[in-house]
């Protein structure tokens, strides 16, 4: 089976019903996406397929036809994505375990809704659980990230 992950073509030999998350983590060593709940209730596993946020813990790899981007492919410490820049400016993370998923969800959201209202942010980001309670900072960082994207 072939899979494009962070612009790299990868060959994998797994059963098609294996969730994308475990292909990434245990087969390809891409550990930015995290296992949290396994039933699409937390969002720590969020990655992009063709730019759209998906829950990799419930997505069978056999059904993936597009390009997969993980937090590592969104931006790097040397070349940050606007969303990552905003997350660092606001110092959002505590334990940080959910934040890769939060950032991937936010990046997709602001690409579709470049000037979001508070209500839109609440609706878009509430499926991503943060046990540490960094929600006030997530809200602020989404706004900053959106402004950065708008201003190019």
């Amino acid at each position: 089976m072939k899979l494009t992950v962070n612009e790299q073509a990868r060959d994998i030999d797994v059963e098609p019903d294996m969730p994308l998350l475990w292909v990434l983590r245990d087969e390809l060593g891409v550990t930015g996406p995290k296992y949290g709940c396994g039933i699409a209730q937390g969002g720590a596993c969020t990655v992009h397929v063709d730019g759209k946020a998906v829950r990799s813990c419930v997505l069978p790899v056999g059904s993936v036809t597009g390009k997969v981007t993980t937090i590592e492919g969104l931006g790097t410490p040397e070349n940050l994505h606007a969303t990552q820049e905003a997350w660092i400016e606001h110092q959002v993370a505590q334990c940080g375990y959910c934040q890769a998923g939060q950032i991937m969800a936010a990046a997709d959201f602001i690409s579709r809704v470049p000037d979001p209202t508070d209500e839109q942010i609440d609706r878009a980001m509430s499926a991503n659980l943060c046990r540490c309670g960094t929600y006030p900072r997530i809200r602020a960082a989404v706004k900053t990230a959106a402004a950065k994207v708008r201003e190019g």
Partner: protein, 746 residues
């Protein structure tokens, strides 16, 4: 280079910090009976004095032995050293260090002494000294009880100051100048000529000098780093997916394991059929562990799948199978036989002379799960000579002992590399998952085994917060609270926890009344008593421990009585408070929230005051009663932790503590049916989601108090402030956690 890039560029040394051709500094080693763990790694001709700072020609490494669960202490410990050492922020590596008695926690022991934190009398002071000495003898290295800052605040700054002064002496010697003419900045010694010599260039010369001890620490007013906004060192890697958590560690040749034990906790495994599982793709083997079975495979998901294909025959639980029986046992515990201790007795609550009608109230708080987002996991490799463990854990030196016991070896045969944790909240004080990984690895020597819990296994084997009830008898007359008699019955999470590692904790458990007997009210008659419920389901310390439930009981009881007396809840608390520094915290929250100002027609507000781990916390919650349920609009909180070392992180942790306290108070509980937890994932134990999160305003009050931790203290004040606000908005008095049994939330 930008500060972000600089911080992001640094490596985190998650293995040992080897000292080659350099020097380690500090003064505390002088009085420390425990061997310096860095010295053991030193080569000939290297001077190693102290366990926290090493400087070599290649770079500077700081050791941050307190475990990082998300509270940011990896960075804060480094900041304490960097402040005195004049290090450029981020211009160094940081390591968790290796487990060693040298890193014994000075604050955990004294915090365990059963005295009010504001009591500085001779007996409390003596007993705190005794407890501290006991912890030192034990060599107890641990992170918990919001103790990292009290433990580190002086000793890490002293280590940094000693390093700075020794480096200046080295520079004086090498460059033929007087020490008094030297200064330091940005990891350099500055010569009188203005030339800046990097510390790293002075490492070898410093290695030949005895470290300078007894350096006076800088006054808070001179701080350049502490107390100012700084970038937490772990923020850039956590924002780019480049931080390695325990669950991300990979060891060459590693296999992936998953485990299932009896969901009726500690019940027996009567039998199982793994024939289908053994034939599944990628399954290496199925092995027995205590009370259950593990699958070892070539991929975590395949191990999870194989577990689902095993048929188990589980035995019964050792505790009552049904939740109602747990409550019945708690309710039956307000008896003389189960009396644990009396903590406070002002006046005489039993006196017939107290005039006025009595009010009887009953409060309860159920079991709650910890459930950090990173599930329990550990990697263990066992060989003929020892074992190596990679995991995130709060008690490293105890972990060595537990793994050694499991494998029938000596603790010094066990090597432990602590890891960043995806949360803990008390969950990673337990040892079961590490011992299971050791049991599996022991059956396949030479192969590292990574055990990962499924979320469902993690829920099933969470040892939740204590189940507990309170009975309050109050007397109100002439517009005054004449008497408050508070009796609390609880299982002991602390002794449940201790028993699992063979520690019998003698005497009463003061956590049963934490947050209750510390209420600083000089009422005429005020009594607080604890009753011990015999062990039911196993329980464990949950962020803020006893105060998470007893703070709710005590503060809401006070609120009810003040309102019955016709007093304003804030003014009434202020009038009854007998300790001025705490009154200032409550006054501050009144100012912040504009207490007394008019609210909307469907709005209400409540105030609370609870002390936790020596930190006085006052909180105001504002709610709206909407057709879709209670919405929490705004929260104001003021607290006194003494000096705030990292203001951004401080605000983040306080807001997080408020969200934790409110979220679980709203909707989270573990209940048992047929001996098993009925909740198995976050859809059944959700706590707060982003759309429910209020605005949270935070203010630090500095009364000149000694430094305290902030990880836990904001939690206990949140549930009572919410309950009091709901009463104000709706007239419904909620006396049970979680509250959604009685009111709906948005």
């Amino acid at each position: 280079m930008s500060a972000v890039a600089k911080v992001a560029r640094r490596g985190f040394l998650l293995a040992s910090a080897a000292v080659t051709g350099g020097v380690a500094f500090g003064v505390w080693a002088v009085r420390n009976p425990h061997a310096n763990p860095l010295a053991a790694q030193a080569e000939d001709g290297e001077a190693v004095f102290n366990p926290w700072v090493t400087v070599t020609a290649q770079g500077i490494t700081l050791i941050a032995p307190h475990a990082d669960k998300g509270q940011g202490v990896f960075s804060t410990q480094a900041a304490l050293i960097a402040e005195e050492m004049d290090l450029a922020w981020g211009d160094f590596d940081v390591s968790f260090g290796m487990p060693s008695p040298a890193y014994w926690n000075r604050a955990l022991g004294s915090g365990a002494a059963p005295f009010l934190s504001r009591d500085h009398g001779s007996l409390p002071t003596l007993m705190r000294g005794v407890m501290t000495a006991a912890f030192k003898m034990l060599g107890g290295m641990g992170t918990g009880g919001s103790s990292s800052m009290p433990d580190s605040f002086i000793k890490l700054r002293a280590a940094g100051a000693s390093a700075r002064e020794t480096l200046k002496r080295a520079a004086a010697k090498v460059h033929g100048v007087r020490v008094a003419d030297l200064r330091t900045e940005n990891s350099h010694v500055i010569l009188p000529s203005g030339d800046a010599i990097p510390y790293t260039a002075l490492a070898e010369a410093a290695a030949d000098l005895p470290p300078v001890g007894e350096v006076a620490l800088r006054d808070q007013s001179e701080w350049k780093l502490l107390g100012h906004d700084m970038l937490r060192l772990d923020i850039p890697p956590k924002s780019t997916g480049t931080l390695t958590y325990g669950i991300d560690v990979s060891v060459p040749g590693m296999k992936y394991a998953a485990v299932r034990t009896n969901p009726r906790q500690f019940g027996a495994l009567r039998g199982y059929d793994a024939s289908r599982a053994e034939a599944m793709r990628g399954v290496d083997r199925v092995v027995a562990v205590t009370g259950g079975v593990a699958v070892v495979a070539d991929n975590t998901w395949r191990a999870f799948q194989a577990l689902d294909a095993i048929d188990f025959d589980w035995g019964p639980a050792s505790y009552p199978a049904e939740q109602a029986d747990h409550w019945r046992e708690v309710a039956a515990s307000f008896t003389e036989e189960r009396f644990d201790q009396q903590y406070l007795d002002l006046g005489d609550v039993d006196a017939a002379s107290i005039e006025g009608p009595t009010v009887d109230l009953e409060y309860r708080a159920g079991y709650v799960g910890h459930q950090p987002l990173e599930p329990l996991k550990a990697i263990v490799e066992v060989t003929d000579t020892g074992a190596t463990v990679w995991a995130g854990h709060q008690l490293p030196t105890f972990l060595l002992q537990q793994v050694a016991n499991t494998l029938e070896m000596e603790p010094d045969q066990v090597t432990f590399y602590n890891q960043f944790m995806g949360g803990s909240f008390g969950h990673r004080l337990e040892f079961g998952f590490v011992k299971q990984a050791a049991e599996i690895a022991n059956q396949m020597k030479g192969v590292p085994v990574k055990l990962t819990y499924t979320r469902e296994e993690d829920f099933a084997h969470d040892f939740p917060r204590q189940i507990t009830m309170a009975r309050t008898r109050g007397v109100v007359s002439d517009g005054q609270v004449k008497s408050l008699d508070l009796s609390i019955a609880s299982v002991s999470a602390v002794s449940s926890q201790g028993a699992r590692i063979g520690f019998s904790i003698p005497g009463p458990d003061s956590e049963i009344v934490a947050g209750a007997w510390s209420q600083p009210y000089g009422l005429e008659n005020f009594r607080v008593r604890a009753y011990r419920v015999p062990e039911l389901a196993p329980t464990s310390s949950w962020r803020s421990v006893g105060a998470s439930s007893s703070g709710f009981f005590a503060d809401c009881s006070m609120d009810e009585l003040l309102i019955l007396a016709g007093q304003d809840p804030l003014e009434g608390r202020l009038a009854a408070m007998n300790y001025q520094p705490y009154r200032r915290v409550l006054e501050r929250v009144g100012e912040m929230s504009n207490w007394g100002s008019k609210l909307g027609p469907e709005q209400g507000r409540g105030v609370s005051f609870v002390e936790s781990f020596g930190v006085p916390v006052a909180m105001v919650v504002e709610v709206s009663n909407t057709p879709a349920g209670i919405r929490i609009d705004r929260v104001f909180t003021a607290l006194d932790v003494g000096p705030v070392v990292d203001p951004v992180n401080f605000e983040n942790l306080v807001q997080g503590g408020v969200v934790w306290g409110l979220g679980h108070a709203m909707n989270s509980e573990i209940t048992y049916a047929d001996g098993m937890a009925e909740q198995s994932n976050f859809n059944q134990h959700e706590a707060m989601r982003l759309y429910q999160c209020p605005e949270i305003m935070v203010s630090a009050v500095d009364n000149g108090s000694s430094i305290r931790g902030v990880g836990e203290p904001p939690v206990p004040a949140a549930p009572p402030a919410l309950g009091n606000a709901i009463f104000d908005a709706t007239g419904i008095r909620v006396r049970e956690l979680p509250m959604n049994k009685h009111v709906d939330f948005l």
